[in-house]
């Protein structure tokens, strides 16, 4: 069968199955607890207690299958050897802790974790604060937000051209090198310079995430009651005092949510490193190292151990983030 037709049929059948499930299960529930007869009131209450579970059941089941099961499977795998057949206990973890490349990844991840969320939030806040005051602010906002629409790999390709290096005696096509050479400097192979290459990779993610931070913070800034700002002006506060003492504290919750959301994203950073350096020249990060271990070296046990490390690091931030977001909405 033509694959397009097959796909269409699958979609239609899937939708029909969903509709049938929700209508059908609801119908059955109404038959079991009819809203008429002697126990109508009690039946309605019982049906209402059951109904949410009925409707959420498919989602819970699918999430369980694709999220919870892999976690346990990873835990199991992380205690197996390369062949995935022999149980080795905590051997993979022992290897991991002693491994130079893992330590480098952990250190790099920590650097990413400190620099990227801080800079993205800072630039986002500055952009949000400034674009609200100028007539071409919306155009500027669109431009700053646009990188959000580019995939990480796509962004990496763009930045590869910026950092590009073509040997000492060739014409430099990289934007950065052409600026450097036009100013009389020597071209550099930017992404091979230890430590600084890390920063150059982070710039890409900051470039992408600033737009996200800006949009959320801009909405938060607009939500600040205008009268509190006028009151502060009457109280003698200058623009900087108003910004730092009146505006920022009122959007502190949103800043925290933006910060932690980017933090979680950073912990999982993979694509950029994969596309730019593949972890060479001291730029390895956990997610890329996990991929490398599992699929290049073919050692799923070690890969899983690294994966679980990432998960353990993400969970507390995640919980804090969700709590903050809930508090914002309350």
């Amino acid at each position: 069968m033509n694959p397009i037709i097959l796909a269409l049929v699958t979609v239609v059948l899937g939708v029909i199955a969903c509709v049938t499930y929700f209508f059908g299960s609801n119908w059955v529930l109404d038959r079991i607890y009819p809203d008429t007869g002697p126990n109508a009131g009690r039946n309605i209450n019982r049906a209402n207690a059951v109904r949410p579970w009925l409707f959420m059941l498919p989602a819970i089941a699918i999430l369980g299958l694709y999220l919870v099961y892999p976690v346990f499977n990873s835990i199991w795998l992380s205690m197996m050897d390369r062949s995935r057949e022999n149980f080795v206990g905590l051997e993979n973890y022992r290897w991991m802790i002693a491994d130079d490349k893992f330590q480098e990844s952990l250190f790099n991840n920590a650097m990413w974790l400190i620099i990227v969320p801080a800079m993205s939030t800072l630039f986002g806040l500055i952009a949000a604060g400034l674009t609200d005051r100028i007539w071409w602010g919306n155009i500027a906002k669109s431009l700053i937000f646009m990188p959000m629409a580019i995939s990480f790999v796509g962004a990496s390709v763009i930045w590869k051209f910026i950092y590009d290096y073509r040997g000492e005696d060739q014409t430099q096509i990289g934007l950065l090198n052409s600026i450097v050479t036009s100013l009389g400097g020597d071209p550099q192979a930017w992404i091979t310079i230890p430590f600084w290459n890390d920063i150059f990779l982070m710039v890409i993610l900051i470039w992408i995430q600033t737009g996200f931070a800006m949009v959320i913070l801009s909405a938060a800034l607009r939500g600040i009651p205008e009268e509190t700002i006028e009151a502060a002006v009457l109280d003698g506060a200058g623009p900087l005092t108003v910004f730092f003492k009146i505006k920022i504290p009122q959007i502190a919750g949103t800043i925290a949510v933006v910060w932690t959301t980017i933090t979680i994203l950073v912990l999982k950073v993979f694509d950029i490193v994969f596309a730019m350096t593949n972890g060479e020249w001291g730029t390895q990060v956990l997610a890329n190292y996990m991929y490398r271990m599992t699929f290049i070296d073919g050692h799923a046990g070690r890969g899983s151990a690294i994966a679980l490390t990432i998960m353990v690091l993400v969970i507390p931030i995640m919980i804090w983030n969700i709590r903050n977001a809930l508090k914002e909405n309350a």
Binding site: P225, E227, T228, A231, V233, L234, D235, G236, A237, Q250
Partner: protein, 367 residues
């Protein structure tokens, strides 16, 4: 503790004029109320005095010093906003201390001022709380406290009671009146659309006209009630609004003028319309509460059939079937009157309670 002088103040947004020809001479210690219907520019005028809106014409003087281009914080004013505008992330104490901290006042003096204001406003037990843990009335008091600590020359209030429920509004109104009594030196300007607030609080009231964008009248509350300069003020102050009965002059003597009311009825008003020929169109103003049921022998000003009555116990409000193109005539009769739909009534009023306006709405009293 200051006098204010507004000379020819105007405000326009592009070509749209929202205020013009505003001349006010406000003395130290007055409580001036700006009142008027929605869109008359009363809040805009207040915000121009505060410096939150640019003055596009005329001059503003505080204590003789021209303030048009002085930044808001240097004008010696403090403002209480309609929404209170408390800083939500600061405690009551910090809310009140903020302006003083910005001004780099010594800590000990800040503390003394804030605690003093807290005591005046009964906020001492709440100084450590955040605004969200306060009731509406308490938030209102914090907003006032934020002004008091700065000891400004002029207090500005922008509809400060409109977010409170009815009972609290009455209490807070009295509190503001007492606050003013305790600070007889300070000058206050108060914006409201509620004429009861205006009448009870003001030393003088500024009524702004939303059609002409000018001052309709500037005077004491009782002046506005007893001697409105024009039909706009006449109908704005007092509730229900003053009845305006069209009529013509039948005889203009030196000290009195006799009017033939078009709807039937005669009235003699103790003002002079000397020089005007009989037949000149005028409007006779009678407040609903000034109407009394005519006894035999009285000159009847108005006669009509009740179309609707409201018995409030204290008074009975009677609405009469309106004539074509005119408003319903309303009478407020004391007590529970034996009037219902269809009752025929003849009304009169004491001559000194009558108002007479020319066809364009100006009072003859001021001619």
């Amino acid at each position: 503790m200051a006098s204010l002088l507004l000379q020819n103040i105007a405000k326009s947004y592009g070509t749209v004029e929202v205020l013009k020809d505003i001349d006010l001479d406000i003395e130290q210690g007055e409580l001036i109320v700006f009142v008027g219907p929605s869109g008359c520019g009363k809040s805009t005028l207040l915000r121009m005095i505060a410096g939150l809106e640019k003055i596009t014409g005329g001059d503003l003087y505080i204590d003789g010093e021209r303030m048009n281009d002085t930044p808001p914080s240097k004008r010696g004013i403090a403002m209480v906003f309609q929404s209170y505008a408390l800083y939500p992330h600061m405690t009551v104490y910090d809310n009140m201390a903020f302006a003083l901290k910005v001004a780099k006042m010594p800590k000990a003096e800040i503390d003394q001022r804030v605690r003093n204001a807290g005591k005046i406003l009964q906020l001492t037990d709440y100084l450590d709380r955040l605004p969200k843990a306060l009731s509406g009335g308490q938030r209102q008091r914090v907003a006032i406290g934020r002004s008091i600590v700065r000891d400004p020359k002029v207090y500005l209030f922008d509809e400060p009671l409109s977010n409170l429920d009815a009972a609290l509004r009455v209490d807070t109104r009295i509190e503001i009146a007492q606050l003013k009594e305790n600070m007889p030196e300070s000058t206050m300007i108060y914006v409201t659309h509620d004429q009861v607030e205006a009448m009870t609080l003001a030393t003088r009231i500024v009524v702004l006209n939303n059609k002409t964008h000018t001052i309709a009248q500037f005077g004491t509350p009782l002046d506005l009630y007893q001697r409105p300069e024009n039909t706009f003020v006449a109908q704005f102050i007092g509730s229900p609004k003053m009845n305006l009965l069209p009529g013509t002059i039948s005889a203009a003597q030196d000290t009195t003028t006799t009017i033939d009311v078009t709807a039937g009825g005669v009235a003699t008003v103790p003002v002079s319309a000397a020089g005007l020929p009989s037949g000149t169109e005028v409007q006779l103003g009678v407040r609903p509460e000034d109407f009394v049921v005519a006894q035999p022998g009285d000159a009847v000003i108005f006669e009509g059939q009740a179309s609707y009555t409201e018995k409030l116990g204290e008074v009975t409000v009677v609405y009469f079937t309106p004539r074509d193109g005119e408003d319903s005539v309303i009478a407020k009769i004391p007590g529970i009157a034996d009037v219902s739909k269809g009752t025929q009534l003849s009304l009169t009023a004491s001559p000194d309670k009558l108002h007479l306006f020319d066809a364009s709405g100006h009072s003859f009293f001021y001619k």
